[in-house]
Each structure stands twice: as structure tokens, then as C-alpha cells.
Symmetry: C2
Subunit: 427 residues, 2 copies
């Protein structure tokens, strides 16, 4: 089963908006075992959209159109699909009623244009809209399929997950449902993960070779999001597939231990926040090279105010001394990191202090090469102070932003591991 992605919108070609939708859909297709050989961007031009759809259907089994379902005259995805299918557009009464109801419940005036969103190519199935007003579409053309979803990312994601991937998987001819879960890891290189899991993967292959059903395991290196380990299972029903995945998750967790920090959409910040919230602990940060990045990302987590006290961005060395009590001497050092962590906890009134001090580049500092970062931790809740030296010079070739991002995640990972270790010592 091959499925292409067609992102529609002149603003994508002009670079006013980066097409992140296709990347996300590509990731979902790969996870579901569906090949995606081509992804195309095209503008709001009827002839060119039609040509792209025909090209896609000539070389793939399905195409997902993303965008162009809005109410304005630029939104012509519906018309283009109808032309390719050779059918007229018809008003779907149910969709029209739902749109009218949404406007009236919000006390908003509805323009007649909005009814354009209720037009569907004759014979197409509607993917009902949970949010927004534009429904998605599932259209058949012989043994091929055209899907259409809105370009608004959260509406698109919801419809792809709920309707498009399941339809593709069922059309793939396997009388089975698919279930997958992603374990997110930090601290092991891809080659190391591969080594640790090689035996397990061989065992699963053997089960399949001998005619049994077993999940598959795939790695996805995702930069500062860590390396994702995706477990996917097919079974006759959802519950059986989920059971296979859950059993496999236990196996993999026992092999990877604390390298697994989260599941699916849980990033490192959210994982750390959850651990702090469970323990009723608060966190204060002191950061220099990251310039506020640690605080900024932590406060992106919903409910951060429950455990995050603040962050002291001490960029000038003198401020490290006056505000945090860091002693004279080099500020990129184990001692400075420990003093900064203790100072952050004290000044911010937090249970735990976390600090980062280092050299983001472009130039070295105090004889320390770019990428040298000390992370400090303080707090009785962790059983006392500790520090870790990161050497991120290998990332320094690119932007200094990369050093900052990796330092941020590595520091949070250290805090996460210390929290877990302390549980074990207590337990």
C-alpha cells in the first residue's frame, strides 16, 4: 500500500508557512506500515491540483490532500477532487446543519460561503468534524482512494488518526486492526538501542517466521525529541492488538530501563513535570547558556504552575555571584554549577534546584571548548547535590542553538533519573 501526500496552498510554495503537516502525516504512514514515496506541495490552482491528483493516483494507491477545504474562493480542493472523480459536488444536508448550528451556538453571523464547506463530491464519505467547520472526505476511484483533510494542524491530526489511517490500514487488505505505541528514550545512541534490542527483535522475527503473530519494533531518531521506539501490532481486533503492544512494552522497558522517559506525545518537559507533580516537589532553575530556554520549555507544559517556581537566567557572570552566591573563579565548572543549583532553590523557594552553565559558542570561554556544559542539582528530595559534565562539542558544528537544546534536554533527563533513583533508594 502506497499513499502520497498533497499539501495544497499557495502560501506553502511562497514559504510563508512551512509545511509541517506532510512531515507529520509521513510519520503516521510509516508507523502504520504504509509507504509514502512522494509528497508534493501545490498552489491554489484548479488545473495544477487536478494534475497532481492524477499523477499521484497513477503511481500510488491513495493520496491524502491537506488544505484547501475552507470557506473562501481560494479553497478549491473539493472542486478538484470532484473533477478527478468525474462527479458533481452536492450539498450534504447533515454537514450543512452542523455548520449552521455551530455558528448559531457561538452567536456568530454565518456567511453563505460557509455552506461551501458542506459540499461533497457525489458518492464520497464525510469525515465528521470534531473541531472547526470543514469536514474531511474519503473518496473512492476504482481501487484507489483520495482523502481530504483540513490544513489546520490540530484538525488535520485528529482526522488522520481517527479516520484516514484506519481506512488505509483496512484497505491494505489485512483483515486486522493496527495498534501502536511509541516509547521515547534519551541517553542511548541509536546503535546502542539497536544492540540492546537486537535479541528481542530476532525473537519477534522468529515468532512471525513460525507463523505466529508478533509486534514489530522500529526506531525513529528525532533529534531533541530523543530516539523513539515504536511498537506496532496487528490483530483481528483492537483489544488483541493493544494487548500484544502492552506485553511488548513491558519487555522493552525491562531491557531499556530508565532510558524510556515517556510514551507517545509525552516530551521530556512533560515527563519531568509529571514526576515532580506526583511527588509534590517544586523546581527552581538557574541557567546561563540556555538563556531562558529551560524555563520556556518547562512552562509549555500544561499545569506547570503546580511545580515550576521560576528560572534565574544569569547571563552576566557578575549576576551569578550577586544573585546566586557563586564564588569567584571560573563560571563553567562543577563548583559553579552546584552553587547555582543551590542558589536557584534558595532564591526561588523551591525543593529542587537545577542549573546549567556552559559554552554555547561560537567562541570558547575560560579555555573551555564550545559544547562544555555543567549541569548541577540540589535538594534534599534528591538526597543532596550532584553534577554532570556534558561534552556537546560534536553538535557545535551547526548552530549554537543545537548545543542549547541538547543541553536543555540532557539537564532535564539528569533530574528525571535522579528523581527515579531516589525513589529506589527510599523504596
Amino acid at each position: 500500500m502506497r499513499c502520497e501526500v498533497l499539501a495544497i496552498g499557495t502560501e506553502l510554495l511562497l514559504g510563508q508557512i512551512v509545511d509541517t503537516n506532510s512531515s507529520w502525516i509521513g510519520e503516521q504512514l510509516a508507523a502504520a506500515g504504509i509507504d509514502s514515496h512522494y509528497q508534493t506541495k501545490v498552489g491554489d490552482n484548479p488545473g495544477r491540483i487536478v494534475r497532481c491528483l492524477r499523477t499521484a493516483l497513477a503511481r500510488s494507491d491513495a493520496v491524502i490532500c491537506c488544505g484547501g477545504l475552507g470557506p473562501t474562493k481560494d479553497d478549491i480542493t473539493r472542486e478538484a477532487i470532484a473533477e478527478v472523480l468525474g462527479v458533481p459536488l452536492e450539498l450534504d444536508d447533515e454537514v450543512a446543519a452542523r455548520i449552521a448550528e455551530m455558528f448559531s451556538s457561538r452567536g456568530r453571523q454565518m456567511s453563505t460561503n460557509n455552506f461551501r464547506q458542506a459540499e461533497v463530491p457525489k458518492g464520497a464519505s464525510v469525515i465528521s468534524q470534531v473541531r472547526g467547520t470543514a469536514p474531511g472526505l474519503i473518496c473512492r476511484l476504482g481501487d484507489r482512494a483520495i482523502y481530504a483533510v483540513p490544513g489546520v494542524p490540530h484538525e488535520m491530526r485528529e482526522m488522520i488518526t481517527r479516520a484516514v489511517i484506519p481506512d488505509l490500514v483496512s484497505r491494505a487488505g489485512v483483515a486486522a486492526t493496527i495498534f501502536s505505541r511509541t516509547l521515547r528514550t534519551w541517553g542511548l545512541a541509536e546503535s546502542a538501542l539497536d544492540e540492546v534490542l537486537a535479541g528481542r527483535m530476532a525473537a519477534l522475527d522468529e515468532v512471525v517466521a513460525s507463523g505466529g503473530n508478533a509486534p514489530t519494533i522500529a526506531f525513529l531518531a528525532s533529534g531533541i525529541e530523543g530516539i523513539k521506539v515504536r511498537i506496532t501490532a496487528k490483530a483481528a481486533d483492537q483489544a488483541s492488538a493493544a494487548a500484544l503492544v502492552e506485553a511488548e512494552e513491558r519487555e522493552i522497558r525491562s531491557l531499556l530501563g530508565p532510558a524510556v522517559f515517556g510514551v507517545d506525545e509525552v516530551n521530556m518537559e512533560a515527563a519531568v513535570g509529571a514526576l515532580l507533580a506526583e511527588r509534590s516537589l517544586t523546581l527552581g532553575v538557574a541557567e546561563s547558556l540556555t538563556g531562558g530556554l529551560v524555563g520556556s520549555r518547562l512552562t509549555s507544559v500544561a499545569g506547570a504552575s503546580g511545580w515550576f517556581r521560576g528560572s534565574l537566567v544569569v547571563y552576566a557572570s557578575e549576576v551569578k555571584r550577586t544573585l546566586l552566591g557563586v564564588a569567584e573563579g571560573p563560571v563553567v565548572s562543577e563548583l559553579a554549577a552546584l552553587e547555582m543549583a543551590a542558589g536557584a532553590a534558595r532564591v526561588l523557594g523551591a525543593d529542587i534546584g537545577l542549573s546549567l552553565t556552559g559554552v554555547a559558542g561560537p567562541d570558547e570561554q575560560d579555555g573551555q571548548p564550545v559544547g562544555t556544559v555543567w549541569v548541577g542539582l540540589a535538594g534534599e528530595a534528591l538526597g543532596g547535590p550532584s553534577a554532570l559534565l556534558l561534552r556537546l562539542g560534536r553538535y557545535a558544528g551547526g548552530a549554537r542553538e543545537q548545543v542549547r537544546l541538547i543541553a536543555n534536554i540532557s539537564a532535564l533527563d539528569l533530574l528525571r533519573r535522579r528523581l527515579l533513583e531516589h525513589d529506589r533508594r527510599d523504596g
Copy 2:
């Protein structure tokens, strides 16, 4: 002249990397007056790359290939182009010598694979590499052209600007060179900009209608990067085109006044940093809803350590009081913003204090709706304290991140305008 973009790399299709290169190239093409109707992503598969190249050349005048020029066996862009051109690959001695020299000057061991990067399709011109080891390519096929640039963003950008756009513009058959400059604005809506500049744009149209040469003006709404006003001129030589653009820039600046904050790649943070550096002033920040974003973005500016002292991320209300001396009472208020700004300057030992306190959402706070943000400023260098109320509720429909980003830029814009106003009062 039509030019497509072909981004090459399986990791792009799998969503492991978002293809930002095509968007950037699309923006450059648009600025140069070259149409880009299609942009395609394809994996590291020889047959499919060749098919994409043939499709592109059948419907466009040129195609830019991005990626697949590295030294590994997955990097097959060179081979695919040679196949489409119907020519063999040949070792370019000059490129090979440069690669060998680069390795030896860095004291690194060179693998024979690296010489693959010196292979070029027979008859192609080489775009010499300033950074990195992979040269770019300019290839002719009748009246069509294939360009190849590396996928590493900074290498790609440098080659597109230096070699590809000028070649495309000259091939466009206009015996002229093009020069463009982007004025970056904040604080005026696109409709307001349009109104202010309508007279000027009509005047330029008249010049052209009567057979004269005049620059064109285009708007590009770029989210938190502001609205860009691009001035483009064509003339017989670069100096004449630049002179036209510069004269027009003066006209537009006189109409837009302080709404123009920067030129080309200068973002708001860099603009504020430059103003501070010129005046030998230092900045300290106190931020709550932005969680460290303001500090993080300011420290992305090269040389920030010259004028940035630090940022106090006071997320917990209590820390606002203990650390910054904010009095009891609502923390999203004019008074709290002013106290925070004064506190930031005092605690961080900065000439100027900037503060942000507000409601990022999802829930309202102290009866204030989501999107309510107070910005405070303190410092004799600004002639004393001032504050501004932002109502960003219209952005709250999306992510809370959008409220934080807009608040950040708006706060820096306020500081920028106050610095400029104070100059005028002094002058």
C-alpha cells in the same frame, strides 16, 4: 520563468526532518520574480529521483535539487542528474583537491567516499563550496536547467543566494539584474500598511505605465517575524538596481516611520540588541507568562553578552514579591509590571528593566481574560517608567504558545520604540 524544488531524502518523507529548505527557497524564488508551482519531496531512490526530475523539467524551466550530495552511498543526486542529462560522472580535479586539502588542514582522516563529492556530471558547472565539502551543480539540458545544492541549511542558503538565484534571473532572459531588500515591520496590520503605502504603490505603477523603470513593493505577512515589505528593482546593472531600491527605501521609511524595525535577516531581538549596544546600555528582564522565552530569544543574538544581563523568570506569584519586591495585589496589572521592571533592573544590575506579566491561558486569571498582558519598562535611559497593556485574546484560539510569542515580540517592540523616542527627546 518557472522553477520547481525537489527535496531529496527518505528522512523527509518519514517525517524525521521537516523540509524547511523548500519553503526558504520558495521565498527566495518569489522575491526574485520566479514562479514556483510545485515542490516535491522524494526519498533516496534512484528511479524515483529520475522520474521526479523528468516530470519537473517537462512542466517547468528549471528544478533545484536539495540534498543527496553527501559522501555516503545514500547520496545519489549526482547519479540521478547524470542519468537525466544522459552523461557520465567525471572527477573534478579542482574539487577533489579542495576536499583533500580541507581534510588535511583539519587533521582529519579522509575516506575514499569523500571523493564521490568531487564527481560531477560531464559538462556541468560547479558551484564552489564555501563551507562543507559538497559543491553545488549547475547543469543545462537544452533550454532547461537543473541545479543541485546540499541539504545542510546554511550551505544551501549560501549557494542559492550566491549562484542559483542570479543564474535563474539571468536565464529569465531579462537583460537586467535584480536587487531586493526587505523592510521588516511590527505594529501595523497588513490592511493598515496597504492603506499607508497605497499612494506610493500607485505612483510606482504610473512610472511603469509611462514606460519608466520603478521598483515593485510586495507584502509578506510572516507571523511573529512581522509583516515584511519587500522592495525589488530590476536594472541594467547591480548598482542601478540597488540605487532604485535605496531611494524607494527612504520613501517607505518616511511613510512607515518607527514601524520598520529591521532590514532583511534582522529580527526584533537583533534590532533591540543593536540599539542597546549602540547606546552602551544593558538590559535585565523579568518575565512570567513567557517563562524564559524573552531571555532565550535575546540570547540567540550573537554578542548578546555585551548588553544582556539576564532574565528573572518569576512564574510563582510569591517569587515576584520576594525577589522583585512586587506589592500584594493582582500580579497581572500595570503596577505589578512596573514593579517587576524596576526590580529586574535593580536585581540584575541593568540600565533598563523590561517586564512581562499576563495570562497565557488556557484559563483566565484574577478575572483577566486569556491574552491580557502588561509590559513594563524602567530605567533613566528611557526617561523613567512606562507600561503598555496588550490584549492578545484573538490569538488565544490557537496554542497558548502563540500568546507568549506575540507578547514577547510586542514587549521588545515597545522597548525599541521607547529607545528611539528618548533619542528624539534628547536630540
